[in-house]
Amino acid sequence: MEPLQDILKKTSVSGHEGELGSFIMESFKKCRLKTETSKCGNIIGVKKGSSDKRKVLIDAHYDQVGLIVKKIDGPFLRIKNIGGIDYRVLPGSEVRVYGKKVLRGIFAAKPPHLLRKGETDKAISSDDLLVDTGLDEKELKDNVSPGDIVAYNVEPFTSGKYTFGSGIDNRAGALVLLKLAEFLRDHEVRDTVVLRTTVMEETGGRGAAMEEDFDIAVVIDATFAKQQGTKDDCVFNPDDGITLSYGPNYSRRLTKEIEEIAKKHGIKTQREVEESVRGTNAFRYAVLSGGHEVIGISYPMYNMHAPCEAVKSSLVDNMADMLMHFIIESSDAGRHKTEGGTR
C-alpha cells in the first residue's frame, strides 16, 4: 500500500485531528525524534543540529476540511461545513459519521423521476442537504449527537500518475514531513530541524498561531492545479513541478536559495505569486512573535476541498527530496540575527 493512501484513510477534520495525529506521533518516535504534542494538537518532532546557530521549522497542516452534525431531523442528519466546502459537491456524496460507532452515510439526492420542471437549474438548497445513514430515527439518536464529526468517505486509490482521495490538502504535506523524519533518523544535520504538523489550518491557520521557538519556517501546502473552470493566472500545471511562493509573506532571499538548490538537483519548480496575505500558515509564521523569514512550497492539486482530490504522486517525493537537499546545503546566514546568537 502506498504511504499516502494509508494516511488518506485516516480522519483529521479540523479540530478533530487525533486519528491521524497519533499516527504521526508514532512515526516521529520511530525515527528517534524528540517529540511533543502541543496543547492544541500540533505534533512536533525535533532533530537536534550540530550547531546551535539556526532552527529550521518545517510546517505542514495535517487537518482536512469536513463536516459536523448540526441537528438530527427524523432519520436524517443536518450538517454544516468545517472549512471551505462548495455545497454543490455534496448531493450524492458518501460520508463517514463519527458517532458512538462509525456509520456510513450519503447525502440525499432526489431521483430525477421526482424532479419538477426547472428544478435542476438551481443548486440544491442547503435545507435539503441531509445525510442518510440508513438507520431509523431511534437507532440514529442512540448513536449520533449534534457536534459529531462527519468526513468524506472516499477509498483512496492510484490511477495513472496520481493518487486520489479526500483531504490530500494537506495530508500529502504531512507525508512530506514523515519522509523528512526518516531522513533525519539516518542523517546528522547542522541546523536543528523542527518538524511541525499543525492543526486547524482550514479554519484560519490557528494551529500555526501557537508559539514555537525557531528561526526560519518552510510551509508546505496544497495549491491549485489548472483545471476546467479556473483562470490561468492563479493555477499551475503539476507537470511543471512544485510551486515556490513569492509575495509579502515570503522571504525572497530564502526562496531564491531553495529555487537554486532544486535546480541544481534537477527538481522542477515554478513560481507562484501570492500577493495577498491570505489566512494560511505562511501568514501566521511571518508575523508570529518577532516575525520570521518564511518559504512557501506547494504541490498543485485537483479538486481542492471536494470529496475526491488528486495529486501527482511524484510531487510529494520531489518535495521531500528538495527539502532534504535544503537542510544539508542551505547557508545558515540569517539576515535578522545577531552575530552567532540564537533567539
Binding site: 432519520p75 436524517f76 471551505g84 466546502i85 462548495d86 455545497y87 454543490r88 459537491v89 448531493p91 450524492g92 456524496s93 458518501e94 456509520l103 456510513r104 450519503i106 440525499a108 439526492a109 432526489k110 431521483p111 430525477p112 423521476h113 421526482l114 424532479l115 435542476t120 437549474d121 438551481k122 443548486a123 435545507d127 435539503d128 441531509l130 442518510d132 445513514t133 440508513g134 438507520l135 472516499v154 486509490f157 490511477s159 495513472g160 500518475k161 496520481y162 486520489f164 491549485f224 489548472k226 483545471q227 476546467q228 473552470g229 479556473t230 483562470k231 492563479c234 503539476p238 507537470d239 485537483y302 479538486n303 481542492m304 476541498h305 471536494a306 470529496p307 475526491c308 488528486a310 501527482k312
Partner: protein, 341 residues
C-alpha cells in the same frame, strides 16, 4: 444478501450488461435452468415445470445509469455524456470506474476558493480526470465510447443496504431468489438490458418467451426528506414491497393487484402502494406481449436511485420475495388446474 451487494457493485451501464449477466448465470448455475441470451444481451432463464401450458414471466433489468466518454482533451481530461437519467447536480466530485480496463477517476470540480456563483455545474462542462497529464497518456487507458459508472462500493448499514445500482439489481436479486425455488409450472426470468434508455431490452426478449402472467420487479423511487411532503414519499423504506397501480407506461393488472393485496393481508406481509406515477416500467411490454398478458409491477423502495448511492431495506427485499412467491403459488395452482401437471 452478499450476492445482492455483489450485484450492485458489478459494472453494467445500459448497453454493457455482460458482466451482470455472467454473475447472475453463475449464481443460478445449480438451479436447473436453461439459459438463452437474446441478440441485445438480455438473459432469459427458464425453469421448465411438469405443467405444459404457459407459465409466469418475471422481469428485472440488469443495466444501471452511467456515462459514456465522448472526448479526450489535450490535457488528458475526459468529456462524457450521461446514459439514462442522472441529475447533473449529483455529478461534481464523484468517483467513477471507466471501461473494460476499470480505470478509476473522478468527476472534476473547481476548488471552492476559485469557483464563482452557485448555479449548478452543467454536465457538458464537467470532465473526468484519470491521473493522465495529456491526451496520449489518457488514450492509452481509455477511449471515446468507453462507458463508466459510479465507483460506489455496496455495504450494509444497520438493516439497510447501500449501493449504486439497486435500480434494478435488487430486482435481479429477487428474481434469482424466486428462480432457485422448485416450481411445477414454467417460470421464465428475464434479466433485461437497456431499460434505463427507454425500456428496450424487454421488448426483444419477450419475443423469445410465452407466459400467462407477468411481474416486473423494480427498485423504485423513495424520497422521504422532510422538506418536500407533497412529493415524498413516493414509497417508504421498511414498509414492505410497493404495488404499482399505475406508472407512466402502464396500468397494473387489477386482478393481480387484488391477488397481491389478499396474499399480503393473509400472510401478514407488509405492503404499500407506490404513490407517484412517474417513470415507466417493463410492465407495459409484459402486458402487450403477443396476445396480451396480465402483468403488474412489484417494487422494492430505494432512496436516491440514479445517484451515486441508493439505500434500500433488507426486510423489504425479503418481503418482496415472500409476497411474490406466495402470490405465484396461487397462480401456479390455477395454471395447473387449466393445463394439468
Amino acid at each position: 444478501m452478499k450476492f445482492a451487494l455483489e450485484l450492485s457493485d458489478e459494472f453494467g451501464p445500459s448497453g454493457q450488461e455482460e458482466r451482470v449477466a455472467a454473475l447472475i448465470k453463475k449464481e443460478l448455475s445449480g438451479a436447473s435452468l436453461s439459459f438463452v441470451s437474446d441478440p441485445l444481451g438480455s438473459l432469459i432463464a427458464e425453469k421448465i415445470g411438469r405443467s405444459k401450458g404457459p407459465g409466469i414471466i418475471l422481469s428485472a433489468h440488469m443495466d444501471e445509469v452511467g456515462f459514456m466518454i465522448s472526448h479526450i482533451h489535450e490535457d488528458g481530461t475526459l468529456s462524457f455524456r450521461i446514459i439514462g437519467g442522472i441529475d447533473k447536480r449529483v455529478l461534481p466530485g464523484k468517483t467513477v470506474v471507466i471501461g473494460d480496463g476499470r480505470v478509476k477517476g473522478v468527476i472534476m470540480v473547481p476548488p471552492v476558493h476559485l469557483s464563482k456563483g452557485d448555479d449548478p455545474y452543467e454536465a457538458e462542462d464537467l470532465r473526468m480526470f484519470i491521473g493522465a497529464g495529456c491526451l496520449e497518456e489518457a488514450s492509452e487507458r481509455v477511449g471515446v465510447g468507453d462507458c463508466a459508472v459510479f465507483a460506489t462500493k455496496a455495504c450494509r448499514t444497520g438493516e439497510r443496504l447501500m449501493g449504486k445500482a439497486w435500480d434494478d439489481r435488487i430486482g435481479c436479486f429477487v428474481l434469482t431468489e424466486i428462480l432457485k425455488k422448485n416450481w411445477d409450472i414454467n417460470i421464465t426470468g428475464i434479466f433485461t438490458v437497456q431499460e434505463e434508455v427507454g425500456l428496450r431490452g424487454i421488448q426483444t426478449a419477450l419475443h423469445h418467451v410465452k407466459g400467462e402472467f407477468g411481474f416486473a420487479v423494480e427498485g423504485t423511487t423513495s424520497y422521504e426528506i422532510p422538506a418536500e411532503p407533497e412529493v415524498s414519499p413516493s414509497t417508504w423504506l421498511s414498509k414492505g414491497p410497493a404495488i404499482t397501480a399505475m406508472d407512466r407506461a402502464s396500468i397494473g393488472s387489477p386482478s393481480l393487484k387484488k391477488l397481491l393485496e389478499e396474499v399480503a393481508k393473509k400472510g401478514n406481509i407488509p405492503f404499500q402502494y407506490k404513490k407517484t406515477a412517474t417513470g415507466g416500467t417493463e410492465t407495459k411490454f409484459l402486458q402487450q406481449n403477443r396476445t396480451g398478458m396480465q402483468a403488474i409491477c412489484l417494487s422494492v423502495p430505494v432512496r436516491y436511485i440514479h445517484s451515486p448511492a441508493g439505500i434500500c431495506s433488507e426486510d423489504d427485499v425479503k418481503n418482496t420475495v415472500l409476497l411474490l412467491e406466495k402470490t405465484m403459488r396461487l397462480l401456479e395452482a390455477k395454471l395447473k388446474k387449466v393445463y394439468g401437471g
